[in-house]
Symmetry: C2
Subunit: 206 residues, 2 copies
């Protein structure tokens, strides 16, 4: 098991390489990749060595090859179907963002295929053509559409109940926007992102 | 200097206590606080000991007093004025969210006082009554309104330029939503939150 902080850094290395315009013969040193990612050269070498021999001493990494390898490690070389529970302000904004990127960027692999809500006014409508289903159909739609990752954008009070529906439907990866801690079995991966928590930390430094 | 991971945990302890309905004589043990926050009891004691003697051996912490102390440490006992650059999908959603919480929750101290944009169609309009100013007026408005924290919700290509405007205006704390690394002097605190980076990490575990 690789520590999650390493996976976080790999995702940053991937983003850095995707942002660069790489010619075929472009090499990149661990120092340059480190600078662009905000870590030391030694940290880059240590992280990548966990997954194989990608570079040559003194020469660095063949950039396109490293990008290819990172995509393989992070499953970024395939389409990943995403669902969003809660078609409110945030759920809608994040859907539009992902749909726009899916439609315009070759490298972007996250495809929003469904939204879910319990509001009768929203069920049966769509966001940029992606349907909003009744949350009671969640399990059936996860199976039918092959959803692998679910984003939870409902109020905190409903977040655990909605998460339980996702777990019953076999979802193994959840991105939670609600400002509350979610309980799930060991084999389910939950990442949370909380705007207020970030603001609260920034406030300490004022 | 306290490590930033400790400040992150303090913000979580604060959120946990704010979520609980605390009677006057309610005590909370480091074990219970740890369980609700997702850390060990020893970690709770170690973190809090950095800031003072708040609890009694074997009895735990007087919950309301601990909440009061944490608010003092994290500057959560005062109003903090927030600006948002980029009145697009995300900037608007996050503004509405913060404005709604400011208007309904006593404990919520973040007050959005201005949005900024460079789109003539948006300048001069408002979000829930909060004006959208021309980004060229950013420095003047920061001073006039006393803005302390700025959220950056513009496209990645414009994020550094906008950040530089914030630095020139004397902003010391930035929450960045654009998927790119921002450069700033040592004394400026920048936190980034990136939905795609989170999704990319989750994808590794599928
Ligand atoms: N929408 C989301 O859910 C989401 C999710 C993750 C990350 N992001 C990131 O957040 C940022 C904003 O995304 P969005 O979906 O709101 O985009 P958007 O295009 O809807 O909004 C961007 C806004 O920024 C303004 N703008 C552009 N350049 C500017 C400048 N130099 N000065 C001031 N204003 C400027 C535009 O006029 C527009 O109003 C992007 O970097 C995006 O990658 C968005
Ligand atoms: N909007 C933001 O910028 C923002 C920022 C940070 C955190 N959040 C968090 O994200 C979550 C969503 O925020 P929002 O601003 O989009 O709220 P919102 O009220 O606009 O949207 C919530 C949506 O969830 C739906 N919903 C409620 N209970 C449900 C259930 N049991 N099953 C299915 N759908 C259900 C509602 O019908 C609504 O459409 C909240 O937890 C909030 O704290 C939002």
């Amino acid at each position: 098991r690789v520590p999650s902080v390493v996976i976080r850094r790999l995702a940053i290395y991937l983003r850095v390489l995707q942002e660069m315009d790489l010619e075929d013969d472009r090499f990149i040193s661990s120092r340059e990749l480190g600078e662009r990612a905000g870590v030391t050269a030694a940290q880059v070498r240590k992280d990548l060595a966990l997954f194989g021999e990608f570079g040559k001493q003194g020469v660095g990494y063949q950039a396109q090859n490293l990008l290819y390898e990172l995509k393989g490690i992070l499953n970024a070389d395939r389409e990943i179907k995403v669902g969003i529970v809660g078609a409110g302000e945030l759920g809608t904004a994040v859907s539009r963002y992902s749909i726009r990127r899916w439609n315009t960027e070759e490298d972007y692999g996250f495809r929003v295929v469904a939204l879910f809500d319990n509001d009768p006014e929203k069920i049966g409508t769509d966001v940029e053509g992606i349907p909003i289903y009744d949350v009671r159909e969640l399990a059936a739609r996860v199976k039918e559409l092959g959803i692998q990752v679910m984003m939870v954008a409902v109020p905190a009070a409903a977040a655990q109940e909605v998460t339980n529906l996702c777990l019953e439907a076999g979802i193994k990866a959840i991105l939670n926007f609600a400002p509350t801690k979610l309980e799930a079995p060991e084999d389910v991966r939950i990442h949370s992102t909380d705007v207020t928590l970030e603001l609260q930390q920034l406030a300490y430094y004022l």
